[in-house]
């Protein structure tokens, strides 16, 4: 299984739809997602099938139709993507361009961090006294 499957726009919208509605069938999803965008039933069905193949959705058969529900939460998927991001920005040759408030991939050593915390704390105290 690909841990970090690439997701297209429609797949992301389908996931969002499933997260909002719990268990959904293709017909209702097509009404909500496909019709406003002028997308055919088959296209929506393909997106569901791809997400199921990527193991992001699960499904059960009811009569002739499949009912789909999510296999992964928004948070789990976000953490997966962040994990992928960290892998790609780590090392001397990052492959994703971003600006992070603190470095995503590299952590300061304990000694350095403790020394800096001490310095800042002392400066705060000095400022309080003055």
């Amino acid at each position: 299984m690909d841990n970090n499957p690439k997701l297209g726009d429609l797949e992301l919208e389908v996931l969002e739809h499933v997260w909002q509605h719990g268990e959904v069938d293709i017909k209702s999803a097509h009404q909500d997602l496909g019709e406003p965008r002028g997308i055919t039933h088959n296209t929506v069905q393909s997106a569901f099938k791809r997400l199921w193949e990527k193991k992001l959705l699960q499904r059960r058969k009811v009569g002739h139709a499949h009912l789909y529900s999510s296999k992964i939460s928004r948070q789990e998927l976000t953490e997966r993507l962040v994990g992928e991001l960290i892998e790609q920005v780590a090392g001397p040759s990052p492959s994703v361009a971003l600006e992070a408030f603190v470095n995503l991939a590299e952590r300061a050593g304990e000694d350095t961090l403790a020394e800096l915390e001490e310095l800042v704390s002392r400066r705060r105290q000095d400022r309080g006294k003055s």
């Binding site: 690439k6 997701l7 726009d9 992301l12 919208e13 969002e16 939460s73 928004r74 948070q75 998927l77 976000t78 953490e79 993507l81 962040v82 992928e84 991001l85 790609q88 001397p92 990052p94 492959s95 994703v96 361009a97 971003l98 600006e99 992070a100 408030f101 603190v102 470095n103 995503l104 991939a105 590299e106 952590r107 300061a108 050593g109 304990e110 000694d111 350095t112 961090l113 800096l116 915390e117 310095l119 800042v120 400066r123 705060r124 400022r127």
Partner: protein, 328 residues
């Protein structure tokens, strides 16, 4: 097999100038580092960008200087001087002379700058493609916040970043919102907004491409210095908005501490080193005043005038260089 082409001569000159500039920067960086480090962050960042771009400028300037008299003649500014020394064996003049003959293998090193730049541009294009795809996924997975320009990431780790290309979007995680009080959160948001305002993602893409002509270790050092300078620019902006420099330092350390899984011993890598530089810089009570560098503009102007005045001498110097290179 030999090649007779002014383009080939231009490429040889470009590669020699590029190599010379890259070498000069490598040798001078240990001396320049201290000076650049004392500049205010915004000036420091500009200085780093200028240094990074110099081999490319050198490569572009060399053929222009070499053919300066011919170009002036071509545009009808000044008559070329070729006819004054017509008895000379060789002239760098595409109007009145035939190009000298080069051995075919001379073109291989001459193509190095073009190959390096192309490779760097393709690598950056791949990076931009991945960045845009990932940013689209993050945007789709994020929820809106009370700030219209900030999306909330469904992650419990304290993370804040600007992602996307050419203009990034700001993402702040739920973990960050939970960890920080409103004042510290404002520091994070203002810092990230400064990255967006300054178009840092785009700026650094350009730096990564143009820096391909530097030696690898020098390139890594200069890009690291640029990265730290850009972070400091945004730290200063955040400090200015919240009105408390120490709060910015405290916020940085608080988030770093919250990440856990700490390495024992000293700081490692760009991120950790950058953190130390940023925090120490914020311990100063006042923001680094940009020193009066009005002279910098005059220096550039004076250098340009000097180059124009000396262009003819440089042209002759380059003629001698080419002659010695091709064994004329």
């Amino acid at each position: 097999m030999r090649i007779e082409s002014w383009l080939a001569i231009s490429m040889v000159l470009s590669s020699v100038a590029c190599l010379g500039t890259a070498l000069a920067i490598t040798l001078c960086w240990p001396l320049l580092k201290g000076f650049v480090g004392r500049l205010a962050p915004a000036r420091q960042s500009r200085a780093m960008l200028a240094l990074i771009t110099m081999p490319l400028l050198g490569a572009l300037a060399a053929p222009l200087l070499a053919f300066f008299p011919s170009l002036l003649d071509l545009f009808g500014v000044v008559r070329d001087h070729c006819h004054h020394h017509i008895h000379h064996a060789f002239h760098l003049c595409f109007l009145h002379s035939a190009p000298p003959s080069l051995p075919w293998f001379a073109i291989i090193p001459a193509m190095a700058p073009v190959i390096l730049l192309t490779r760097g541009t393709l690598a950056e294009a791949r990076m931009i493609w991945r960045t845009r795809a990932l940013a689209a996924e993050f945007r789709a997975l994020s929820t809106e916040s009370e700030d219209a320009d900030i999306s909330i990431l469904a992650s419990d780790k304290p993370r804040a970043m600007v992602m996307g290309w050419p203009v990034g979007s700001i993402f702040v995680s739920r973990g960050m919102n939970a960890l920080l009080d409103p004042a510290a959160l404002a520091v994070v948001k203002e810092h990230e907004r400064a990255h967006v305002t300054h178009r840092d993602v785009f700026r650094k893409s350009l730096a990564r491409i143009t820096s391909c002509l530097l030696f690898p270790k020098t390139r890594a050092r200069l890009l690291e210095a640029l990265e730290i300078a850009r972070e400091r620019v945004c730290d200063e902006r955040a400090a200015e908005v919240v009105g408390d420099r120490l709060l910015v330092a405290e916020t940085l350390l608080r988030i770093e501490r919250a990440h856990g899984s700490r390495l024992p011993g000293g700081a490692l890598g760009v991120g950790a080193k950058g953190l130390e530089v940023r925090v120490r810089a914020l311990l100063d009570d006042s923001p680094p005043e940009p020193r009066s560098h009005g002279w910098a503009g005059w220096l550039v102007l004076a250098a340009s005038v000097a180059v124009i005045i000396a262009a003819e001498h440089m042209h002759h110097g380059l003629e001698t260089l080419v002659l010695s290179l091709i064994g004329g």
